[in-house]
């Protein structure tokens, strides 16, 4: 890393089932305008634009970056599209950061989105393959057998997923931008909700959301705005094949390697001790204990104990709150979901997270994964450079 870079502006839309009052371009512009205002800059101050979203097939708009250039003030500027499936929000932030860290640009605007109300993600993720039977039942159908293997391996009690589902929705009720507002949700309610992909119930799965998230990332000599910057202390991406013999689908090697890399850059020795909080991509309840282990917050087989002990809960005063914003379980505009994790980590260390602020948060992890859990992107942001 040649230059220090920091998040100086963050803008998000309110996440909702349907934003029929705006086009896709209008949705992005809403987040972008807020990010620019937060950074105290205008379009003239932006050197380049980096945009990301999940597959074009979702909304049926191919190469949407071309159509969106005007709305993002990108005409006449370098513009780049990133795509790494569900992890794209994180990867996009990292690509934007790298353009500042390399010294190429002083200020980069980055934005990600999904307008699920105009799309059919379940269909787009269930297309027939010529050499397989047509039984792809969306993302939940893919991940449920992996979750089942985690439960078998760890002997985790059945209620762990339910606990996460309640915890993240209660966190989400502190966040006025969160799609689901369920302050009174109970474990019984989750338990009684319809089984979708056994062992995953309806309320253990993420919603379908419309929304966009934007950030302004600036070089150390171009910091602006009235809020403290969130210094980018480390960034890492890793990927691995979806299918190979002996692959550990429960705790993928790429995730472990990605975490080790980003921790080394940021000087993190013990993630549970060193981080004040984490925003981790948990679209299905059981992925909290699974990622607790994959990311080294708990020894193998013991992630679920942290969850049951309340260690990851802001409401229970846990020592390492995860997904204080409500996480993907409360809002899921797919392409933006990774960037929301990165942005919410930055909000925490800027002391700007409102009712879901972790007191004195100094160091936070942002995490995203995608595809068949084969794409990983992570960053560490801090209130200070070291």
């Amino acid at each position: 890393m040649a230059e220090w870079a920091a998040v100086v502006g963050i803008g998000q839309t309110r996440y909702k089932t349907r934003r029929s009052d705006v086009s896709i371009a209008g949705l992005l512009r809403e987040a972008v305008d807020r990010a620019l205002a937060d950074a105290g800059v205008g379009f003239d101050d932006i050197d380049a634009v980096v945009i990301g979203k999940a597959p074009d097939m979702f909304e049926g708009v191919v190469m949407p970056e071309s159509y969106l250039a005007d709305a993002l003030g990108a005409s006449g500027k370098p513009m780049l599209r990133v795509h790494t499936a569900g992890s794209v929000g994180g990867s996009t932030a990292i690509v934007a950061a790298s353009h500042v860290q390399s010294g190429t640009f002083k200020r980069v605007l980055t934005v990600t989105y999904e307008k699920q109300s105009e799309s059919n993600a379940m269909w787009a993720l269930s297309t027939p393959q010529p050499f397989s039977v047509h039984l792809n039942a969306g993302a939940g159908g893919y991940f449920a057998p992996i979750i089942r293997e985690y439960i078998r391996r760890t002997n985790a009690p059945e209620g762990v997923g339910i606990r996460v589902a309640v915890k993240d929705r209660r966190h989400g009720a502190r966040n006025p931008l969160a799609h689901l507002q369920l302050p009174d949700i109970t474990e019984q309610e989750v338990r009684d909700s319809m089984m979708l992909w056994d062992p995953l119930r309806f309320l253990e799965a993420c919603p379908s959301s419309d929304g966009a998230c934007a950030m302004v990332i600036a070089a150390a000599d171009s910091i602006s705005g009235n809020k403290p910057p969130a210094w980018i202390r480390g960034v890492a991406m890793r990927s691995e094949p979806t299918m190979y013999a002996g692959r550990d689908e429960v705790s993928p090697q790429a995730g472990r390697d990605c975490a080790a890399d980003v921790y080394a850059q940021a000087g993190v020795m013990d993630p549970r001790r060193d981080f004040d909080c984490a925003e981790v991509y948990v679209p299905f309840s059981w992925y909290e204990p699974m990622w607790l282990e994959n990311l080294g917050f708990a020894p193998p087989g013991e992630g679920w104990k942290l969850t049951l002990d309340g260690a990851t809960s802001l409401d229970d005063g846990g020592d390492i709150p995860w997904n204080c914003s409500g996480g993907v379980l409360s809002s899921n505009p797919i392409g933006a979901s990774g960037m929301i994790r990165f942005a919410e980590a930055a909000r925490q260390v800027r002391g700007d997270a409102g009712a879901h602020q972790v007191e004195n948060a100094r160091l936070a992890l942002g995490h995203a994964y995608g595809g068949g859990a084969q794409f990983f992107s992570m960053w560490v942001v801090g209130a200070h450079k070291n």
Binding site: F131, G141, L196, W197, M243, A245
Partner: protein, 173 residues
């Protein structure tokens, strides 16, 4: 009488994509064998793992695979889910079991329907066998297998799933 019409905020505009799939050497072999009712995989010359359906290279070693290995239609449940919602474009009625099945002699699983069973009794390590459609219905498709059904055999210990020889689990010790 003119009632106020609601604002038009969106219209339905379906997009259809019809692809011609160029299979490539390895999947073409796999599909051609399938039409004869045979399950054909490929062995990696470096790690020795057997892939089905083979794509012509080992994803772990990154080397071409050419050696064909014919596999039996018996295997083991590596994991599974009971699905309670319909699949877009598939008439199958929920609930149904989608299982990750490893054939004997293979080192990778594929998904298929597990039927003729009590859904709640399905388990990791369970032995299964293919139920084929009548030969006159066979095409270049995994749908030649209607589904898998449980076998009356002892479960495979978890640590052996995905490592069995072509001859199967054999006599349990």
């Amino acid at each position: 009488m003119s009632a106020a019409r609601p604002d038009v905020t969106g219209i339905e505009a379906p997009v259809y994509l019809h692809y011609h799939f160029t299979a490539g050497t390895a999947p073409a072999r796999f599909l051609a064998r399938l039409r004869e009712g045979l399950l054909s995989g490929q062995r990696c010359p470096r790690c020795g793992n057997v892939y089905i359906p083979a794509r012509g290279s080992c994803p772990a070693c990154g080397v071409p695979t050419t050696e064909e290995v014919l596999l039996p239609d018996r295997g083991t449940v590596q994991s599974f889910t009971i699905v309670h919602i319909p699949i877009p474009g598939n008439p199958i009625e929920p609930p149904y079991v989608v299982a990750n099945i490893v054939l004997d002699g293979a080192n990778i699983s594929f998904i298929h329907l597990l039927s003729d069973c009590v859904n709640e009794a399905v388990r990791i390590g369970q032995r299964v066998q293919a139920v084929w459609r009548p030969p006159e219905e066979w095409d270049y498709a995994m749908d030649n297998i209607r589904h898998f059904r449980p076998l009356d055999e002892p479960d495979v210990p978890v640590e052996r799933i995905g490592t069995l020889p072509v001859s199967g689990p054999g006599v349990p010790r």
